[in-house]
Symmetry: C2
Subunit: 215 residues, 2 copies
């Protein structure tokens, strides 16, 4: 179970050995069900059956651990883009709805909420390193998928817009509105999760009413 030479990489390509990945997994679990207060170095060491000294050797300090947790979690998410497919109106709509539901479910996920809370809590400190990291690894990723989808729709003559960023912003806003903030503030997500399908449907309808062509 222990690492063999401190050189093996886990499946994710982020310079983390298998053992360290297991430690980060435990740290994420602690963060999810205890908040930042529960994420102490001693607690992580205890939960992961490792020593504090190893934590500091591997991640430098507590901030390094937090950054590694964000990078580790982001490295587990792979967004496959569905380019090169012949699009018609129905297919585009289906892809948009799938994107919208995926977006809602990702944002409502335990780990996502916990990491966003963590980064927001640290935002006013030290120039918001974690915030930028989270934005880079998270939003940029999902934004790319949406961007590719929108571009494909425009190339197929199904969508009309000048600024892709603006169109994406409209789609995001119609889908998410203030639900993300409400969940971050602690509102029970279980009541909201049931409506994800219907919500995604309606948001896509509105988006297509704004940006759709010959539909």
């Amino acid at each position: 179970m222990q690492g063999v030479g401190a050189t093996e990489e886990a499946g994710a390509g982020s310079g983390v050995t298998e053992r360290q990945g297991a430690v980060l997994e435990q740290a994420l679990r602690l963060l999810v069900d205890g908040g930042e207060r529960a994420l102490t170095t001693a607690g992580v060491a205890r939960a992961a059956n490792c020593s504090k000294e190893s934590l500091y050797k591997w991640f430098g300090d507590r901030d390094g651990l937090l950054s590694a947790m964000i990078a580790f979690q982001a490295s587990k998410v792979r967004t496959l883009d569905v380019s090169g497919e012949a699009l018609d109106g129905a297919r585009l709509r289906a892809h948009l709805v799938a994107f919208a539901t995926d977006l809602l479910e990702v944002l409502a996920g335990d780990v996502s909420l916990a990491l966003n809370r963590l980064a927001i809590g640290q935002a006013s400190r030290e120039g918001s390193r974690l915030g930028r990291l989270l934005e880079e690894r998270g939003r940029r990723q999902i934004g790319r998928r949406a961007g590719a989808l929108l571009e494909a729709g425009r190339n197929a003559g199904l969508l009309g817009f000048d600024d892709a960023e603006e169109a994406y912003g409209a789609l995001y806003g119609l889908v998410v509105a203030d639900w993300h903030l409400r969940m971050l503030l602690g509102e029970d997500p279980s009541g909201l999760k049931k409506n994800f399908g219907l919500r995604a449907e309606r948001a896509v309808n509105a988006f297509l009413a704004l940006y759709g062509r010959k539909g």
Copy 2:
């Protein structure tokens, strides 16, 4: 300068003496430019020239202080509703744009961002009391103003919708999108603030395209 009988109420109707209001003001200032880490009881006492003992007498404990800060800040915001006015298309649009810019500027405000960060940071702890408080005092307030405006527009035959909550969600999403989250994560608001007017304009255009009648 000192209170005279612990019975005087400040302008806001939230059971807070003038002296206590001044203390809360200092606490908010500390929170704004130092984050939660800077909001220590000793720091508040020092900044406000009061004793820690008084803090605990007035607010119970640290959580009571935080709650009082949120209530105090919310009590300073007064949203006047502009009902009873004869609406035409241009006036409705102007009111919507004004609401949108106000919304963006409120959300981008120093104190608002700091309080939201604070509540989000505590969300996983103790059942998110602060989160619910912030939602109650903040969102509910601005939601009422928007709701009244939308209802007035519908009554004047200028807007068409079945579910007012859904229409408000669309307006909110088109106006704010992910800007609030990005600001909460620490992105520099100065670059975003310049575009508030244009952004509000475009969002209202989109909203009217979705929900407008005979426009």
